[in-house]
Symmetry: C2
């Protein structure tokens, strides 16, 4: 059995190239980095895009609080230093995913411009597309939605350093995509993102 | 343009299931965890397997010192606590890769049994295969090979806490695969691993 399979295999030295995996997947690896206030709808849009892409035969994956904060980053908190380390690690993991050829979506508030710029830098140095998506919603809208009840707790002082209330949010200066979620439905926002990926030729048909 | 694409898309709520991505890739996501002394040949075998799998149309990726120690884990060292954190993060990232449907190879000495067992635990709790591969080679053989000149530096006291010399290596008690690299070529070792993946039905033809 072992020999039979082994004889069918062409053996190579060295590493597989990124292009080999991208050819296999018929897409380009990239990181699509969502940033915006809590409650702005980042994850809703990210998961809507992911679903549509997988339905069309593309490999997409969302990194978000659920799979990162309880795992890789369970030992980092919410101080400015810890937020920096949180985003640093997410940037590094997204880069590995993108290098694998995956269309990788990150859905984190990521409030500091310099932390997002650092994630961009390590991608661009590796020749990987980094697409910053600003999910733009007024604080009042996010606070009114408050899907997880976090704003209320922050106003009551039960959550320290809450972005928009007691910690800053720095808007992107030159994001690749701005989604005005006051005007767009999640599906319309998702379509904007997919159109952008098509225009950048990251998806081959 | 936006509307035209959007009307071709079926919109869904919620998350893509792991099975959806696995069906797309015609394989099961899994982590294949190589462990063994420095110089035992872990990376050579891992990259040989990766090449053969990608050639056969499977998505495989190797996490190793080159892409982890200079990126995600550049802020951890080699003390026992740091080694634990190093392996903890690698286990969490491998789990995310496996959840994406990728055949994920990790190539790290990973000397402590409890750290490897913790990586196994988080995979098994998530219903993901974790395949421990013990790359077995006598210390003398590894030290004689010394491909990176590390053993010599360790013997000269220039590298503290070097596994096998001044830090312990705990052999796996029940690894899924043992590769006796004194008897097997890298290609023969790679064939053993691929045969195991076939027998576990992780690769669909």
């Amino acid at each position: 059995m072992a020999k039979q399979i082994a004889t069918n295999i062409t053996w190579h030295e060295g590493h597989v190239e990124r292009k080999d995996r991208e050819d296999l997947l018929k897409q380009k690896g990239a990181t699509i980095w969502f940033t915006g206030l809590s409650g702005s709808g980042k994850s809703t849009v990210a998961f809507t895009v992911e679903h549509a892409l997988v339905e069309r035969g593309h490999l997409a994956y969302v990194l978000d609080g659920d799979n990162i904060r309880h795992g890789l980053n369970k030992n980092v908190g919410f101080s400015p230093e810890d937020r920096e380390e949180n985003i640093r690690r997410i940037g590094e993991v997204a880069k590995l995913f993108a290098d694998t050829g995956v269309l990788t979506f990150t859905s984190f508030i990521s409030p500091y411009r310099k932390d997002r710029d650092q994630a961009r830098k390590i991608h661009e140095e590796a020749g990987l597309p980094f697409i910053e998506v600003f999910v733009s919603a007024p604080l009042e809208v996010c606070e009114q939605r408050d899907p997880k009840g976090l704003y209320q707790k922050a106003r009551e002082g039960k959550i320290p350093e809450f972005t928009g209330i007691s910690a800053p949010y720095e808007e992107p200066l030159k994001p690749e995509i701005v989604l005005d979620v006051a005007k767009l439905s999640p599906q319309e926002s998702a379509a904007e993102v997919i159109n952008y990926l098509v225009e950048r030729k990251l998806l081959r048909e």
